[in-house]
C-alpha cells in the first residue's frame, strides 16, 4: 500500500471543506456550551428547590448518556414532535447541550471557590444581588474556570466526528466519502488525523498560554 501523492492533492480540498464544518460545529457548539452551562449553574443557585432539583436531574441525565445517542435523538426523534433540524444544526445543538452539562460543573466549582469573605464584603457594601454576581462573584469564578473551559473546547473538537453519524459533512465524514468513492482509505484517514493534530496542538498551546496568564495575576 503506497502513499499516492496526486490522490492526496485531489482529495485535500474536500477534506478542508469537511474541516471547516468541523470547526464551525465545534465553535458554535462551544458558545452554546459556555453560555448554557452558565445558565444551568445559576439556576442551580436559585432559592427555588423545584428549579434547582430539576436542573440537577436534567444535567445529570444528559451527562450520563452518550453524546451519540443524544445526536440520534435530536436528529431522528425530535422531528416526529415537530422540531425539524438540519443535520448540522442538530449536531451543533447536540454538542453544545451535551458539553453545557460539563461546563455547568466547572462554573459551579468556580463559584464555590470564591471565598466567603467576598460575599460578605459585598453584603457589607450593600450591593444589590445582580451586582454581587456580575461585578464580584462571576468575574472571580470565571477566571478560575478558564483553563478547564479551554480543555473542553479541545475535547469538543475531538468529539465532533460523532456528527458523522447524523450525516454532517464534517472532516471524518468527508474523508469517509472520498475514501468510499475511490476505495482508497489510507490517505484520507491519515489526513484526518494530521488535520486534527494541526488544529488541536496549536489550540492547546494557546490555551496553556491563557492559563498561565490568568494563573499569575
Amino acid at each position: 500500500m503506497d502513499w499516492d501523492w496526486s490522490y492526496t492533492g485531489d482529495i485535500l480540498p474536500d477534506l478542508l471543506k469537511g474541516l471547516r464544518y468541523t470547526v464551525v460545529a465545534t465553535l458554535v457548539g462551544y458558545v452554546i456550551a459556555v453560555v448554557l452551562g452558565m445558565v444551568w449553574a445559576l439556576l442551580r443557585r436559585t432559592p427555588f428547590r423545584i428549579v434547582n432539583e430539576a436542573v440537577r436531574w436534567v444535567t445529570e441525565f444528559i451527562r450520563s448518556t452518550p453524546l451519540l445517542v443524544q445526536l440520534f435523538f435530536i436528529y431522528n426523534v425530535l422531528p416526529a414532535w415537530g422540531f425539524k433540524l438540519s443535520s448540522l444544526a442538530a449536531g451543533i445543538i447536540g454538542l453544545g447541550v451535551h458539553y453545557s452539562t460539563y461546563t455547568a460543573e466547572v462554573y459551579r466549582a468556580g463559584i464555590a471557590d470564591v471565598p466567603k469573605g467576598q460575599w460578605e464584603a459585598a453584603t457589607a457594601l450593600n450591593l444589590p444581588t445582580s451586582r454581587v454576581w456580575l461585578d464580584v462573584i462571576l468575574p472571580q469564578a470565571f477566571r478560575r474556570t478558564i483553563p478547564t473551559l479551554g480543555n473542553y473546547l479541545i475535547a469538543m473538537f475531538k468529539d465532533s466526528p460523532l456528527l458523522l453519524a447524523i450525516n454532517v459533512a464534517e472532516l471524518l465524514g468527508a474523508a469517509f466519502k472520498v475514501g468510499s468513492d475511490s476505495l482508497k482509505f489510507l490517505e484520507p484517514i491519515t489526513l484526518v488525523g494530521l488535520l486534527f493534530v494541526a488544529v488541536s496542538v496549536p489550540s492547546s498551546i494557546m490555551i496553556r498560554r491563557l492559563e498561565r496568564r490568568y494563573a499569575t495575576n
Partner: protein, 293 residues
C-alpha cells in the same frame, strides 16, 4: 474622645516628618470626607442567636449611644464576632430585636404589626452600617479605585466622577493616594486594610464595625492601621463597635469597654477601669491571658 493626647498644638519635628498616613490625615481633616452630624445609637433587646444547638447569645441586652465608641473584649468563642455579624446582617437573628436609631434592623412594620424584614428593608438599614474585616476582603478583580467607587456608584447612585473624587479624598486620608490604580494583590496587608477602611467609609455609614482588623497583619504594619483608626475616631462622629485584643488601642479609641463571656456581658466600664481595676475575676483572668500571649 478627648483630642488632647493625639493632637498637640505644636507638632514636633518628628511628627512633621511622620509617615504619610499621619500627614494625609492632618492636612485632609478640614475636607476629610468623614461623616459628621447625628448618628444613631444601637440597642440589642433580648437578642438570641443559636448555631444549631449552640446558644451563642442568650437574651443579650446592651446599647450603644449615638457616636459612642465601644470595644468588645472577651475570650475566644464568647460571641463578639457574632454580635458584629448580626449588625451587618451576615448572620440571621433568631430572637429579640436589634435597634439602629429608632428602627429595628431585622423587623419591619406592616399594618401596625412587626414582621420579619424583607430584602428591601435590610437594604435600607444596611446603608447605615459599614464593616471592616479581619481578612480585608477587598475585591481582587478590581483596582483600588473601583473597590472604592463600586458601592457609591451601584448602591448610593453617586455619579462616577463624584465617586472618583471621593475615592481620591479617602485614599488621601488613609495615606494611599498613589495606589489608586493598584490592584489589591500589589499592596501589603496594612495597605489593603487601609483601603478596606476607606471602602467602608466611602459608603458614608453612621455605624462602623471593626472585627480584629489588625490581627491578620504583620506586627510592623499594625501601628499604621491603628493610627488611621484613631484619626478617624477623632475626626468623625461615627458610632464604632470594635473587637480587638490590643489593649492600648482599645484604651485610645473607646469610650466604653464591654467584657463578654459566653454571650453575656460580664463587666463594662470606661477603658481605664476595665483594664486598670477590673471588678470581675473572669475579666482579670482574661486580661492576664491576653497579656501573657
Amino acid at each position: 474622645m478627648p483630642p488632647t493626647d493625639t493632637t498637640p498644638e505644636t507638632p514636633t519635628p518628628e511628627e512633621a516628618e511622620g509617615p504619610s498616613l499621619e500627614k494625609g490625615a492632618k492636612t485632609q481633616s478640614a475636607a476629610a470626607p468623614l461623616p459628621r452630624g447625628s448618628t444613631p445609637g444601637i440597642r440589642f433587646e433580648k437578642v438570641v442567636k443559636r448555631f444549631g444547638r449552640n446558644v451563642v447569645l442568650r437574651e443579650l441586652d446592651f446599647s450603644v449611644a449615638p457616636g459612642e465608641r465601644v470595644t468588645l473584649i472577651g475570650p475566644s468563642g464568647s460571641g463578639k464576632t457574632t454580635i458584629l455579624r448580626l449588625l451587618m446582617t451576615l448572620e440571621k437573628l433568631d430572637e429579640g430585636l436589634i435597634w439602629i436609631g429608632d428602627q429595628t434592623l431585622w423587623h419591619m412594620d406592616k399594618g401596625g404589626k412587626r414582621v420579619p424584614a424583607n430584602q428591601k428593608h435590610l437594604h435600607e438599614m444596611r446603608k447605615q452600617v459599614g464593616m471592616v474585616f479581619q481578612q480585608f476582603n477587598l475585591f481582587p478583580n478590581m483596582n483600588v479605585r473601583r473597590n472604592l467607587t463600586e458601592g457609591p456608584v451601584r448602591v448610593l447612585g453617586v455619579s462616577k466622577d463624584e465617586a472618583d473624587e471621593r475615592a481620591r479624598k479617602l485614599l488621601d486620608l488613609v495615606g494611599l493616594a498613589d495606589k489608586i490604580d493598584a490592584h489589591p494583590s500589589q499592596l501589603s496587608g496594612g495597605q489593603q486594610q487601609r483601603v478596606a477602611i476607606a471602602r467602608a467609609l466611602a459608603m458614608e455609614p453612621n455605624v462602623l464595625l471593626l472585627d480584629e482588623v489588625t490581627s491578620a497583619l504583620d506586627p510592623e504594619l499594625v501601628v499604621g492601621v491603628q493610627d488611621l483608626l484613631r484619626d478617624i475616631a477623632r475626626e468623625s462622629d461615627l458610632t464604632m463597635l470594635c473587637v480587638t485584643h490590643e489593649m492600648h488601642f482599645a484604651k485610645d479609641i473607646s469610650d466604653r469597654v464591654l467584657m463578654f463571656d459566653q454571650g453575656q456581658i460580664v463587666e463594662e466600664g470606661p477603658p481605664d477601669q476595665i483594664f486598670g481595676e477590673p471588678a470581675e475575676q473572669r475579666t482579670r483572668d482574661f486580661l492576664q491571658a491576653v497579656l501573657a500571649s
